[in-house]
Subunit: 195 residues, 4 copies
């Protein structure tokens, strides 16, 4: 797979459901994959930041309609959370944006449309959990809005590698997304971006 | 105007843009009206709570896409905020729900639809600021979704009393809303509600 | 009121619920006003067409989910329809676009957003029936989408002149719309428009 | 696969993009599959009608924003249309509903939400073309709206059988849909349905 360069201007990095307690029956396999992914995704986020690409956390509220994202982060990074290492590694900072999603797609009944318009985003880099559910649903909706999709294959995980592969194939063929791995993706710096 | 009784079950109290710095040129008149309203609205909220009616804050993010509602509350209740007395009086508690809105209507690109469905709400009590803008826009959208509207006349304020009166008349005639004052509105207790 | 010139490029003329049987109790007053308006609106539509401005009919389906717009036109122009003269005068042609709306706002659960994007519209000229209901609801939603609004005062009618005046004032003040009469509105020709 | 019985009340049959000219490079394989499917789907539609289950055509407008569905049917059943046999076999009648969709999902910027609410639908039977694109996008959106999904495997076709199989597996596993073939699906008659 060839290396690609993505213009920083007009691009956003989306982290989908990475702040996650992964507390469900039989989550061990997914936890292991997600932990392996977290380091690569953290590195991609650092490079995005250096290039002036905004990061948007799109995260389930896990039915906790009264809590804010800070409480979700506290819950998911707590000792009892199987997802604590992933959530700690990818903990948001004050520079990041976040969008609460009540269903699977990041666009369904959320402010994401308005935020992307405000930031003048035309390209999204989709990452996170699970590739064949929330990432794919969000990808479909992004495609219908004429956004250009990137879905780095090494920053997306699903319950099984087979499900992940199929989701990536769907994104590549039907949604015309680029699935080049994050290690081969570099940003063309936005003018005047913080070093 | 006659007294009315609203069933607690299926009803939600909406507080629109009450957490507000009211920091705009010429806001003195609105600040004075909002301060007079805040006591009545706080009393209505207490009675709603006693009857088991959930309170939902629907609030502008004032362009601060990175902050959460807690930071908005801190900003609006700070010493330099003209809206500090209103915001303090109506400060949310851990029991309240909140929905961030990026535009005027509480339904536009927000999770409000999903939250109302989850809580099985069929009636909304609309209160807040400003009656002829965000309250009216939200009322229109609630009406199109077949929700029954209550808009207590003494819990809604606008820049001028004339604008407020007209908004209330629009809600009463076009949207078939009930504009009985909060002092004449009582709740029929939900079974098993906390005392 | 001063004359204004509107660039044809990026502008659309919206005709809201003008194909209408006006068959409700007490519609005589509205029918009379609408008939007086129909000639002015037909003239505006002709000038829009000459300048290359597309016309979009945004029309209620009157609960007839199985019929298409052609059948609605046939019904509203039939002998028994109180709105027949208005509907005949403003009958759509094969060049016009149309959007079926199930509720009051032209944007609610319709394809209007997508159509305006496809035509690259940034300005809308709102006309039709009734000024304080469907026209105003559509205006609110257009304003939240950052469209620039024109609402020619002589091409919008409501049940009563007082309701119409108030709706126009709301559009002018809250929505920052321009309510210059159609007779004072001219188009700056789109390059290459059909003569 | 076991036979299933679906209650007619609360159920709708959705025909997605079956009125289709199938006029694209390399469509021969899809045309052959769609023609084989059309007879089974026509039979399912007849049985739905007999049981009182409404049929809703959800159809692309093929970029023809000015035409109505009648013109789309005329175009797709014309002599030059590769999809003419499929479109003729499944030609809508005056009893059927139709929803124009501008993008892939039947729910995106359309009146489908409102129509399903009006008809009080809680279950949808998804059929049509193509299984891994418009049918799957619509299925995802139906699932997020808490509708129960049926996707009869013999009434859905895609460019390749492998793509179709995968879409059906996604519907069965992620969306918890029932993919029992139409030949094993019977309706429990709605009370008072026309014979």
């Amino acid at each position: 797979m060839r290396a690609i360069t993505v213009p920083a201007s007009g691009t956003a990095l989306l982290l989908i459901d990475v702040i996650n307690d992964l507390a469900f029956q039989g989550s061990q396999g997914l936890v292991a994959q997600a932990e392996a992914m977290a380091g690569r995704l953290a590195a991609l986020k650092r490079r995005a930041r250096a290039a002036g690409v905004p990061t948007i956390y799109i995260n389930d509220n896990f039915g906790q309609w009264r809590s804010d994202f800070r409480q979700t982060v506290a819950h998911c990074t707590s000792r009892s959370s199987p997802g604590r290492r992933v959530s700690q590694r990818l903990r948001p900072t004050a520079r990041d944006y976040f969008v609460l999603k009540p269903r699977h797609s990041g666009f369904y009944d959320t402010t994401l449309d308005t935020l992307l318009d405000t930031l003048r985003i035309r390209r999204v880099i989709l990452t996170g959990i699970a590739g064949n559910i929330c990432v794919l649903f969000t990808a479909n909706d992004a495609y219908m809005r004429d956004l250009k999709l990137f879905a780095p294959a090494d920053c997306i995980v699903s319950n099984t590698p087979a499900e992940n592969d199929h989701a990536l194939r769907q994104i590549a063929t039907v949604l015309k997304g680029n699935v080049t791995a994050s290690t081969r993706l570099t940003f063309r710096r936005r003018q005047g971006a913080a070093k």
